[in-house]
Structures are given as C-alpha cells and as structure tokens.
Symmetry: C2
Subunit: 409 residues, 2 copies
C-alpha cells in the first residue's frame, strides 16, 4: 500500500509516528502547504528507519484538487489520507477519485445551517456533499471511508460493536467526550484545532430520532453531567454538531443518536464571546497588514493567536476520553454500557512524543488503513466506520498498545 | 485660526459638524488615511456652508511625521487637532512642533507597563513621552494642549473648577463614567473605539496618592457602584488606566485621584476573554490573507469584526455621562459633589447626526480651540486642561447648547 498523507499538523505528524511502527504499507508521502512542516514530520520518523525510509515529504495546496491528484499519480498512491481541517475535505475527496485512489478522512464535508430555521431544521448536513457523490466512488470500485478518526471513527466502531454483540434493541446511542487535561503556563490553550472546535461547537447541534430523522437545536443545548472513567470523573456535556449523529443511523438501528462534548463552562463562555464579537466567522474582513490592506478570516486570527495544540504536549497533564454510551435491551433485560478509549498524555508523550488528543485521533486511521491493506475491511462507495465489522478494529487497537474499555452502567 | 484636523472617524466627523456652527476659525483641513472618509466628512458640512466653504479634505498617513508637517505648512495651519487613535500621538505631536503649529489631542502618548511589577509600579506612564518634550514646545512658544476630549478633557476642567470655586481642601477626585446606552440588533456593539477601550481597560490601572505618587493595580480593581444622574442610575465601575490620573495632580492639589469606568460585568468578561485568547495584542501575527501570508495585529481584527461605533447612532438609545466626583472640605464642612455632563443620544443624533459618545468627545476640543482663538486661554509647553481657568470653558459648553450639571452628594 502506498499512502498520500495530506496535512503534517499535529494529527498528521502523530500518524507518521504511529505508522512508522507498522509494516503494512510500502511508502507514505507526507504533504503540507508548508514544506518545512512536512519535512520535519518525515525527519522525525525517517531517522529511525535509516536509509531506504518509507517516508517522503512534498509541498501541496490541499485546496488545489488538480495538484493533489497529480501528486497521487506521481507517487502511484493507492490511498489519500486527509489530515487537514474540514475546509479541505471536498477538494481532497475529489482529487482521490480523479486519481483512482481510495480516500480516508477524520471529519466530513461541512454543514450549512437551514436558512430560515437553523435551530430546528437541518440545512446541508455534515457529509451530505460526500454522500451525494457516493456513486462516483462506487462505480470506480473505490472506497471513501469517511469520519475515521477517534470521534467520529472509533466512536462509530463502538456503536457497531454494541449493535452486533451487546444489544438486541438500541434505544439511544450517545457519543460522550470528556477530559481532565490542563496546560501549564497558559490562561487558555485548547488541546485540539480551534478552527474545528469553533466550527463544531457553534454550528446548530444535530440530533437523530427514529421516525423524526435529523433535526437541530440551539448550540450548547441539553446539558448533562456525564461521569467519565479512569479518574476523569463528572464533566458537564452539551450537544455539539458531530459526524457520528449523521453516520451511525445509516448503518445501526437506534431510537436516538446524540453527540455531547464535555466543554466546561469556561470554554463555552469563551466560544460564545467569540461568536458575539464575530470572531468565529470565516468570511474575510479587510484589515491593515504589513503588506497593505488584505482580506483576513477572523477565525484564522483566533487560531494564530493561540498556541499550536500539537506543541503543547510537554505542558499538558491528564487524560482524554472518547466513547459511546448505549442504552437498550439485551435478552429481554434493560442494559446500559459505555464503551470508551482513554489516552493519558504522559503515556502518549513518552511513547510517541504526541499529545493525547492528537494521538488519539491519529491512531484510528492508521488502524483502518491496516485493515484495508490486509483485506479485513473491504468496500466501495462512501462508507462510515460502522459499515465494517467492529471486532477486528477493536482487537487491532489493543494490539497497538492502546486498549479500549467497557463499563456496564 | 487655520486648523488641520487629522482623523475623520466618528470623533473627527463630529468635530467638523460642531465646528461648522462656529465662526472663530478661518479654515479646517480634514485629513485621513482614507481620503473618501475625509471627503465625506467635508461634504456633510460644506453643503451647509455653500460656496467658499471653510472645509477641505486631504489624504495623510498619521504615522508619517514629515508628511503631516508638510500638510501643516502647505495649508498654513496654526494648530493640529489630533482625532486619531493613540498610536499616532507621537508622530502627530512631533509634526506639529516641526511645522511650528500648536497641538491638541484627546488621548495622550501610550504607557508601557513596568517590566517586573506591572500591577504595583508604573513603567512608562500615559503622556510621559509628551511631557518629556515639553521644553521643545515651550522654547518654540507653542502650546500642546493634551487630553482635551471629554475624558480626559472636560473631566479635568471639572477638577480645576472644583479646586478653584467649590473646595478649600480636596481629599479625593474620582472621574466616573457611566451610560445606559443600548444598540438595537447587535449582541455586542461598543459605543466607542474598541482599540482604545482595550488599551485603557487591559493596561494596569493607575492611581495617584499624595505622598505615594502614581502606582498601579490589577485590571478591573476596586469595583464600586456609582449612581449616575439624569435617569442613568447605578452602574458598577472599576479602575481603568486613564489620562486624568496623570494630569490632575500636576495642577490640582488632591489627596487621591482615580478613574473608574462603568463597564458592566458582560463587557469586563468579554475584555478578559479577548486577553486570555491573546486577541487584545497589537504585535502582528502571521496569518493567511487573500494576498498570501502577512502580519496582522489581532486587535485590528477585533476592531474590524465589530460594527463601526460612529455608524451606530441610529440604533442607539440612552444617555452617556462623564463627570468628576470630588470629596473634600469647604468652609470647614465636609463636602462631596459630582460635576457631570450628560448627552442623550436622541438629542445628539437629531441635532448633529452624531451618536452621543463621539459627540461628547468631539465638542470639547472645538470649545478649547475657540478659547485659544479668542485668547481666553493662553499658554506654552505641554499643558493639560486643568492648567487653564475652568469657568470660560464651562460657560462656553453651555453656550454650545449642551449644559453641564452639579449634584451635591
């Protein structure tokens, strides 16, 4: 298998470090708009592999579909792994199809709120633009495996596992994400891309209900305190727009599907302030620059003003938990479980030099590619992680040294 | 008198509208980095004056001291009135001196916090860079009248009036600023320059005490509820860095001088968030722009994301109050007064088409220039408003149709 990884940020760099320990692929090209960043990611793993390293670096603009397709062809890549932010999903998804390559991502094409009733009805949903082109992939015998990080990704695998092995009937599936991470020396330092966090937290959260389908609510709706395992403890979680709510109901029969994120009061207040000040917006404003007036996206400035989350690992402490809470019936009895995956930042920094949140995202597409390389997972068209058997994935996650857990509630 | 007004923003435009009704000056050149803005300000007043209008427009970069001096000479101006934000104080202050013109501003040269103990000791204080060059002005027989808006400005005139006519001995002078303004249709729309508001609110507040001199505290310190007159009512006020604290003690004997601003909880929380996110900073960050990567000041982006306060007058309701609270002794009896000036937005919009906060700032330098033109005020060097007799100023303010008030507490 020959892989083109687009994006050498936090998640992309962690992907190279995890993949370097596996032998299922022949070559990985690491491409970024900043060649230096791609080269740094490659240098960090190539030194261990020595002469004949399987990693190479390239410069590419992820928005340039033709350039990405050219890079896939030039390096005869079988698959494009997209580790950029969601703005680049569509050009990369198109480029893989153009070049006859499979495609994986960790976030789906962006939503657009309903023009009149944004907090009741869905407009364009997450992934709609990709599912609309599923025929292109299917006809070409290609697979686009979408939402294959940790959330979405592992959380969807957990949902499929629950449906296959733990429940006869599922009343509700609720993805629940929480952490007790702190960062020394910063008033405020998000542990994941602020661009993506703003996007998912300020968009109208989407909910699925059997019979009603998908609908939306006000941001930060339905707060609940969820008790996270392995010492993290209770965290207040609120509804957030997330891919699982769009993916799970396509393959798993459930009465209700939600996603709640343990943001905490302080973080919610900051996001609300960014919104009230108009600093969450992506449309450019004309501002003075050192090269004269130019159009600048306020959200890019927010991201630039904050520390790069990928570089915070040395100052971070604590654990992050991703998981899927499932309520239903098994053998005529009510059952409730939480299937989860916890990463301790101290462990991920020691083992991989990657902070916990980006490492936890990165490990899952590396596993999925291995399942595709070995033929354990096969398919064509646009499929979510829950379209595939869950057990091989979960076993391989444990084999990668990062076991998952299950709590009966 | 021939005047060069630099800055055709909200305050600058209001200055032209107020000055257009007075006959003490011969010509006013309105200069801005955006010529269209200067032309619009001129057009709004020139139509009323008809042929032979006293107003003309010019383009100038306020940071370019030589260009500003050239413009002063070209138009044979006697005085430069600075209506830009405080970043441009030093080049404009220098340009006026170079060209042999008097100088007025409404905010003084910027402070720099103490490098080790910013919340205890002063570093470079507001106006220090101007007072250090007072000799240049004095030797040339020129006057730099600094801090001549409403606050600083009218508030300083009130302090001098209290010392001259109301008290034998002053224990404390506290400038207190509050409003009950609302803006329809915006979650958040500051009624004054956010650039300046961030600067004054996030810098360490400065306090003066007899015997101790100037010192600083934490931002937003010493909250107190102050009851504002004319229906505004009680507003929570906190210490903020402001010029009056630096100006008043130079000419008025007082035991303590403070400035407290009625920001309200919500506004304080937003300013704190901007600070925690690093968005209050002025040093440029490199961000993507539509002309490629460029250096952008985050605070400029915050300003660009918010509506222009000068354009909000039609949506604003309520009153703004600037004033000086004085506590001391008169004829052996304790006395406490609040000297104040209230502007109702409905009145200022109807009379001048300017919103209340910018109008209230703008009227004071127009009055001061009239007092200099008529010879009621004279002086050389760098002087604050309290260096001049207060009564002629207060009488002229009333004559301009905007009376001040006094409340015995």
């Amino acid at each position: 298998m020959r892989i083109l990884l687009v994006g050498a940020g936090g998640v992309g760099s962690a992907i190279t470090r995890i993949a370097a320990r596996r032998d299922y692929f022949e070559h990985m090209v690491v491409a970024d708009h900043d060649l230096g960043r791609a080269e740094a990611a490659v240098a960090a793993v190539a030194s261990a592999e020595g002469a004949g390293s399987r990693f190479g670096a390239a410069r590419v603009d992820a928005a340039d579909r033709a350039a990405v397709a050219g890079l896939l062809r030039e390096h005869r890549c079988d698959v494009l792994l997209n580790a950029t932010d969601p703005r680049f999903v569509l050009p990369l998804f198109g480029a893989a199809r153009d070049a006859g390559a499979h495609y994986l991502d960790m976030a789906m094409s962006l939503s657009h709120p309903h023009p009149e009733r944004p907090y009741e009805l869905c407009g364009v949903k997450l992934g709609d633009d990709q599912f609309a082109r599923a025929g292109d992939y299917r006809e070409a015998g290609l697979l686009a495996l979408v939402g294959m990080g940790v959330e979405p990704g592992l959380s969807d695998v957990f949902a499929r596992y629950a449906a296959d092995e733990l429940f006869d009937e599922i009343e509700e599936i609720g993805i629940r994400d929480g952490a007790n991470l702190t960062v020394d020396g910063y008033d405020f330092a998000p542990s994941f891309s602020i661009w993506t966090t703003i996007e998912e937290c300020l968009n109208p959260p989407v909910i699925y209900e059997r019979g009603r389908g998908w609908f939306t609510t006000e941001p930060f709706s339905e707060p609940e305190v969820f008790d996270f395992p392995e010492g993290i403890g209770p965290v207040e979680c609120v509804n957030v727009e997330h891919e699982e709510v769009l993916l799970v109901p396509r393959w798993v029969d459930a009465g209700r599907v939600t996603f709640k994120y343990g943001l905490g009061d302080d973080f919610i207040a900051k996001l609300k302030t960014l919104h009230e000040l108009g600093l969450d917006r992506t449309a450019p404003l004309t501002v003075p620059t050192d090269h004269g007036p130019a159009g600048v996206s306020p959200r890019d400035v927010v991201a630039a003003a904050l520390p790069d989350p990928a570089g915070l690992g040395d100052r971070m402490h604590g654990k992050t938990c991703a998981g899927t809470w499932v309520k239903g019936v098994k053998d005529g009895e009510p059952r409730e479980v939480y299937l989860y995956h916890v990463v301790d930042n101290q462990w991920s920094m020691r083992e991989y030099g990657s902070q916990a949140v980006v490492w936890q995202t990165a490990v899952n597409p590396v596993i999925a590619l291995e399942l595709l390389a070995t033929g354990a997972w096969t398919g064509t068209g646009v499929l979510g992680p829950e379209a595939f058997p869950a057990r091989p994935f979960l076993d391989l996650l444990t084999a990668y040294g990062s076991p998952w857990g299950m709590r009966e509630q």
